[in-house]
Symmetry: C2
Subunit: 172 residues, 2 copies
DNA sequence: GTCTATAGGCAGATAGAC
DNA sequence: GTCTATCTGCCTATAGAC
């Protein structure tokens, strides 16, 4: 799904990669939209766990932001990008449950990021004028776009470069 | 294609919207990849024309940048985003000619934007530290991501807000 | 240029044996 | 839980009449 999008893969593809038949995949996920939903939910949980770890572990807001961008970098390689980046592009073709799952993934990350931004501005480690919410949305959107461009250019450095420029806009 | 992506629409969809049969669409575009390529090429030409107009008409670099972002806003409504945003997400599933056409669309806009940025920095109307190329890529990626998020949130203001924040990062 | 008709394939999905 | 076999439907694409 991260590689070819929701409309770009089939049960047969998944089955072949697992070395089973497509009927087997249907046994676990009767409908394709359920499979898609489950994948988003799993990623949402993993992402939330990672955010909690960052919150507990990373020393300052700057480090937190870098670690946040790192989560996206982890999901980027030569073929695949993060789930949200592919799926939001296919948004109009997806089932309501899948849309809601994607929305949740975005609002969760945006809220987390907005909170960190606000704290950073209060303790003086960050500096920006717009609302934390707007800045968070801009940064997340920037990371998504950068991932997609990095893949089509087959150059992960494009992502790193964009991520550091985006984070620099709020540096104190 | 802007609404549902390349893998999300069919000849039947296009035919129905035009009030013809799918055979008629095949007469003009025998293969689907050719149809996709033609649509990208057409958009590339329109985009290039618009960029030339901006270059000739917009008074200063700040105005040029705002007009550039406006081109993306023109391509955003409640259901559709710009071609590049949808297609780059499906990149792995597309034909080589389609990929090349998308790459061209990106490099064209990035070059134009990088040139404006450089001129702005030289005449003092803009201010940024990284290379014009990197900044251009970051802004374009940011606009793409913002378009996708604006659509899924059904809120065009999210795009406007992100666009103005992105452009503010290079304001003199 | 547009139509009807249809080919051939693959998609998502199910039934039933093991 | 996994398999083989199969259904149904839509997909891309083509042939040939008008």
């Amino acid at each position: 799904m991260r590689e070819r999008g929701f409309n770009g893969f089939s049960y047969a593809n998944v089955a072949a990669e697992l070395g089973v038949t497509s009927a087997t995949v249907h046994y676990h996920f009767p409908a394709k939209a359920e499979l898609g939903e489950a994948l988003i939910t799993r990623d949402t949980e993993r992402f939330a766990d990672a955010l909690a770890t960052i919150h507990a572990g990373a020393p300052g807001t700057q480090a937190k932001l870098a670690a946040f961008a790192g989560l996206y970098a982890d999901r980027l390689n030569a073929r695949g990008v993060c789930l949200c980046a592919v799926l939001v592009a296919e948004y109009e073709t997806l089932s309501e449950p899948m849309r809601r799952a994607i929305d949740r993934l975005f609002t969760d990350s945006e809220e987390w990021l907005a909170t960190v931004l606000q704290q950073g501005r209060e303790d003086g480690s960050l500096c920006f004028e717009a609302s934390p919410r707007d800045v968070a949305g801009t940064i997340i959107g920037g990371l998504l776009g950068a991932m997609l461009l990095a893949r089509s250019n087959d150059d992960v450095n494009r992502f790193r470069s964009a991520a550091s420029l985006l984070l620099a806009t709020v540096a104190g």
